[in-house]
Amino acid sequence: MSKIYLSHNNIVSSFGFNSISAIEGIRNQVSGLSLYEDKKILGTPFCSSRIHQEKLQEHYSALSPNEEHTRLEQMMLVSLSDCLKKANIKLTEKTGLIISTTKGNIDVLENESKYPESRAYLPVLGEKIRQFLGFGNKPIIISNACVSGILAIAAAKRFIKQGLYDDVFIVAGDLVTPFILSGFNAFQALSTEPCRPYCKTRTGINIGEVASSVLVTNDPSKTTDESVIVLGEGSCNDANHISGPSRTGEGLLRSVEAAIKQSELQSGDIDYISAHGTATMYNDEMESIAFERANLSNTPLNSLKGYFGHTLGASGLLETIIGMHSLHQNTLFASLGFQELGVSRPLNIIKETTSKNINTFLKTASGFGGSNTAVVFQKAQV
């Protein structure tokens, strides 16, 4: 069985319009989060990280669009076109396109929207992206709550293994909208200050905005310095509650076990965990239980939500890309906002950004609907 790699990548975020700008921000322990007072989005101030609108316009205009695209489409096009340009490969019938999003163009349902309601259908969004960038195959859209971004990587690997594709480009993105913020606010889950995952004094989640892209390929000649091998994956349900995380961490545990088993590794072989860590009380607690059950309590772990907030359907892919660069730079990035452990089980939270030889990392995510996904990655060293 040939190996499957993650390769060229892009992050469009409040830090800038490529992966390096985001990595630099993280390396310097700068948060992209700040307080917004935007009554069009939420009646009360909220903490978020958003993509700079004018700069997004500039990058989008540089693509010479022949029709108007929504804000999310612009974010996705800017991100994916950069990834495509870097990869510089011919799009064939063996090139797939996977789009990961939870809500897509949900903002077109707003009264003021100039776009027709039909734009809210995810396949319409998918077709806009496909058409503009010239993919031959119809996009495969994954909408699986907050695990979508990491599940998209697992799915790309699975489609390549089955011979459907040789290369898959994934683009992931979601917007900060009244829809999303009012919903999390109704759950009383939003924090008005930058979130502090796993911290004793954590006060909830922030929602942020990112688009990210990656090339998944079975061809080692298409890899980059920061490329990783996708070793194993699992995506298991809690079968417990549709909005509350499992008290036993069952689905996450099973996902992690499946991913490690397929990787032919032991839990002790994992050098670093890029966890979900939304900074809600229940999520962080659930993760600590699952990681203890998986014998991963001592493994260095961070949540990157303190830099971007929770970027929904983009988060799993965003955080995986950062993990790739973390491995390549042999650096464990600090879990920003963390002060004192505030979960019932031990976790080895990365407090300071430190140099360390790391070869293997585990990325996890959990979301509504009892969804969980875990994927193990290893340095490609090619």
Partner: protein, 198 residues
């Protein structure tokens, strides 16, 4: 080595009718979605009152899955579902509740259903399936995506069976077609067969 997989059983829910393996198990002349679901529940489900708290998409998926899984012993069943409208049917209801300052009533109970995979969460809870889940959104029923994904999960032993199919609710229209892929069954697990049964 490649395994051969089969379709063990399949269900349809559309036009006021629920069928299993092509045989009608419930039929009503009612056209209103909620009333169809209520009547089908009384005949086919009976003992899961949480059903009435679900949104339309979850009700439809739950019902179509229930008639296939109620006597199923295997618990390692992957759920691989798809549709066109995602959760748009409930998204519209939720957006209506926040549309202006005077009528601003965002409800967590509605918001949680504004994701298509919640439907798989409801099925997983009822049938105690701690198994693989993935929700795809496509403009039309696409057996190739579902069968490729199912084959990979079955061949890599991540699942022993897979519940796959289409579950779509949009502006009062609804259509569900689910099928169970297994090592044994009546129909070959091929795109052509899936399309024929659809």
């Amino acid at each position: 080595m490649k395994n051969d997989f089969y379709i063990q059983s399949y269900s349809h829910v559309k036009n006021g009718e629920v069928s299993v393996n092509g045989k009608t198990v419930f039929k009503t002349s009612e056209t209103d979605f909620k009333l169809v679901m209520k009547a089908a529940y009384k005949k086919l489900i009976i003992d899961h009152p949480k059903f009435f708290k679900m949104d339309n998409l979850s009700k439809l998926g739950f019902l179509a899955a229930h008639v296939l899984l109620e006597n199923e012993k295997e618990k390692n069943i992957a759920l691989i579902l798809s549709n066109k409208a995602s959760s748009l049917d409930t998204d519209r209801t939720y957006q209506e509740s926040i549309k202006n300052v005077e009528q601003y009533y965002p409800s967590p109970a509605v918001f949680v259903y504004t994701l298509p995979n919640i439907c798989m969460g409801e099925i997983s809870i009822k049938h105690k399936l701690y198994s693989e889940n993935c929700f795809f959104v496509t403009d039309e029923f696409t057996p190739k995506t579902l069968s490729t994904y199912a084959n990979e999960l079955l061949e890599s032993n991540k699942a022993r069976k897979a519940l796959c199919g289409w579950v779509d609710v949009d502006n009062g229209k609804y259509n569900a077609f689910l099928y169970v892929v297994a090592k044994k069954g009546t129909f070959v697990h091929s795109e052509a067969e899936i399309n024929r049964l659809y």
